[in-house]
Amino acid sequence: MTTTRRNVEATTPKEETTNDAPVLERRRVRHGISLEIIGESVLLLLVGSFFVYLFVESLDWPLGSALMPRIAVAIGAPFWAWRVAVMFFQAKESSGQIMDIGFRSGDDPEGELGRFVRICCFILGLYFAIWLLGFHIAMPAGILLYVRVYDKMSWIGSILLALVFLGLLIGVYDKLLNATWHDPPLLQWIAAFFPQSE
């Protein structure tokens, strides 16, 4: 795309630049079961289990409550069965645009996997820290550490960014919205060890 491109080109979407299918095709596990089938099996198992749970539970509910859940299961079950058939019996299904954006992968699967694990660990660590230390400590600290370690931002820049975020927390959420925060266990333990005098 160049700056001299005609306006009409803005309406014409570009072809997908990369596609993860060939990469995935190469990643086959033993016994010929592809990652695609394993991943989709997990999804189908989750959806199917929830349908069964909802239906069994709905047997004990009055009709007013049970009607819509049963309709949901009745709509979903045949399509679930069809999807299972498609997956295991390689039945033909037209493939097309799914109205969603998939992950895009390039030619560095190991690096992508490493970054995927890294960001997932960051999210889990951040959420654990929020639970343990509270939002006001965990979030600015999380941002500071992440941009310092992975973006190699300067200490001053990292600290400034963390302070801006802390300012947002205090200014918007504390002062403007009067948000109620959860009580972090660590602070409770500290309070238990060092009880305030009356």
Partner: protein, 504 residues
């Protein structure tokens, strides 16, 4: 009517209401750009409703809701994070455009739609006020049920090419929405024995988990800024891109008009409007625009135009059932309703007689918000698009923290975060294995309306609802929509197959 219109203008454009609207400008700009919705601030205004004149509180909240709606496409387009109330369909083409370095074009088109639809739509709404009341009186719960069902039907239309997965995920979304208290009998449903789930699954953690976190992860995994192409030119030509987007919106004027009419009409449907309108408009555009079946969802500016035109015209439309029937069309409208009641103004037919000036002022406020806020956003757009160029390792932690806060706002409970993690895992799997996520969102958003109106219709009419001409007319429209969309899909599939055959 003319006299009331003049009185409304005189009262609205007096120092008091003008001052509160000016105060609301920066608040709405910041709030609209924060993912997770803007209702908490509207609730703050509610706190003053008992003490202040309705001519101060009503302009404050309506201006705030309309103005923050204008800024809502920013996170959708630039970060792939749908807003809580609307701009959900905007993400489908807006975010791919940002990835292609066309964020300025998408924002320009979005704001131009907002301006045109906001001003012209408000004028049209003003003229339609008396007619719309008669039209709405002809509809009952049975017709409202069908219209909400039409929103769900869009799942099938929007999932063209992945019909099975689309309907399956929509059914899964409906099933998820069944968790918690039944609105019909009060029975606690499928809560897994967890007290937190008694109130159901809040929408914002679903949105954050399904959409925002997987997009943030994608950003880091790809190790590029959001704009993966033409990064330099995007920054250099930001002004030109925004201008080009504005022209694109005007070039597709019929799409803009069509989508805004859909938005206004569906917006008038109590409870259905803000949730379904943009999806219906997006689905119709995908099927009626040339090449839409192939290009929508990959970064087609027409997708942004359709979704945003409907989004913005909904604002005007939802005002009608709220003030005329006292039935709020969205969370924001529910707060407006509460403000009216607290201010001593009883919503209902009297709003078109006794308080006609106040009703007309609502339309003025929506138009005024567009006239004031859109130029600000257009001026700021070249700076806003720079977000798309922020390095992924800076962008990702900030986005993750902001959306986490948005999710926590849902019920101020730490369990919200566990829910986010659960839906994030689901979203990652769905994104990775090609399952469309929007149908879950559509189903969750519309489920309560569908369930409520279904039960009401059954109890009120039973099978006799099929004898209602209005009911049959809407069924005919739905069947027509299905037939046309299936035919178009079939044609597009054949064309794609032929093209693939020609290449090999």
């Amino acid at each position: 009517m003319l006299e009331a219109a003049i009185i409304a203008a005189e009262r609205l454009f007096s120092p008091g209401p003008m001052l509160v609207m000016l105060i609301m400008i920066p608040i709405s700009l910041i709030s609209g750009m924060m993912p997770g919705g803007n209702l908490p601030i509207a609730v703050i205004v509610l706190g003053f409703a008992g003490y202040l004149d309705p001519w101060l509180t009503v302009p404050a909240v309506v201006f705030f809701l309309a103005a923050s709606d204008i800024t809502e496409p920013v996170p959708s387009i630039l970060m792939g994070i749908p807003g809580a109330r609307s701009a959900q369909a905007t993400i489908l083409d807006g975010y791919p455009m940002a990835q292609q370095g066309l964020a300025g074009v998408a924002l320009g088109a979005s704001y131009m739609c907002t301006l045109v639809v906001g001003v012209i739509g408000a004028a049209a709404l003003l003229l339609a006020l008396p007619i719309s009341r008669e039209l709405l009186k002809a509809f009952s719960s049975a017709e409202f049920f069908l219209l909400s069902l039409l929103g769900l039907l869009c799942v099938a239309i929007v999932s063209a090419g992945a019909f099975v997965k689309g309907v399956l995920t929509a059914a899964f979304g409906l099933a998820i929405a069944m968790i918690g208290f039944s609105p019909i009998t009060g029975t606690v449903r499928a809560s897994f024995g967890i007290d937190y789930l008694w109130d159901g699954v809040p929408l914002v953690p679903i949105v954050v988990g399904l959409f925002a976190l997987p997009e943030a992860i994608d950003l880091v995994v790809a190790n590029t800024p959001i704009a993966r192409e033409r990064l330099d030119t995007m920054l250099k030509d930001a002004n030109r891109d925004v201008y080009r987007g504005m022209r694109e919106a005007l070039n597709h004027k019929w799409l803009l008009v069509r989508s805004s009419l859909i938005g206004t009409f569906v917006g008038m449907m109590p409870g259905v409007g803000s949730s379904a309108a943009h999806w219906i408009a997006y689905a119709q555009a995908r099927h009626t625009e040339k090449g839409g079946l192939e290009s929508f969802g990959k970064g087609d500016v027409r997708g942004v135009i359709a979704a945003d035109s409907a989004n913005n015209s909904v604002d005007g439309g939802t005002l009608i059932p709220t003030v005329v029937f006292g039935i709020p069309g969205s969370g924001g409208m529910a707060i407006l309703l509460a403000i009216l009641v607290l201010s001593g103004v009883q919503p209902g037919p009297a709003m078109l007689t006794q308080h006609l000036d106040l009703t007309i002022s609502l339309v003025y406020i929506v138009a005024f918000a567009n006239i004031i806020v859109v130029p600000i956003m257009l001026f700021a757009a070249p700076m806003i698009v720079r977000i798309a160029a922020v390095p992924p390792n800076v962008m990702a932690p900030i986005v993750i923290c902001i959306v986490t806060l948005a999710a926590y706002q849902a019920s101020y409970s730490i369990e919200d975060l566990f829910l986010v993690l659960g839906f994030a895992a689901l979203g990652i799997f769905m994104k990775r294995y090609g399952w469309p996520r929007p149908p879950i969102l559509i189903a969750v958003v519309l489920s309560e309306i569908v369930e409520k109106y279904l039960w009401l219709s059954i109890n009120t009419y039973g099978f006799s609802m099929f004898a209602r001409p209005q009911f049959l007319a809407i069924i005919a429209v739905m069947v027509l929509v299905m037939i046309v969309s299936l035919r178009l899909q079939s044609g597009a599939t054949t064309a794609l197959r032929d093209a693939a055959g020609a290449e090999t």
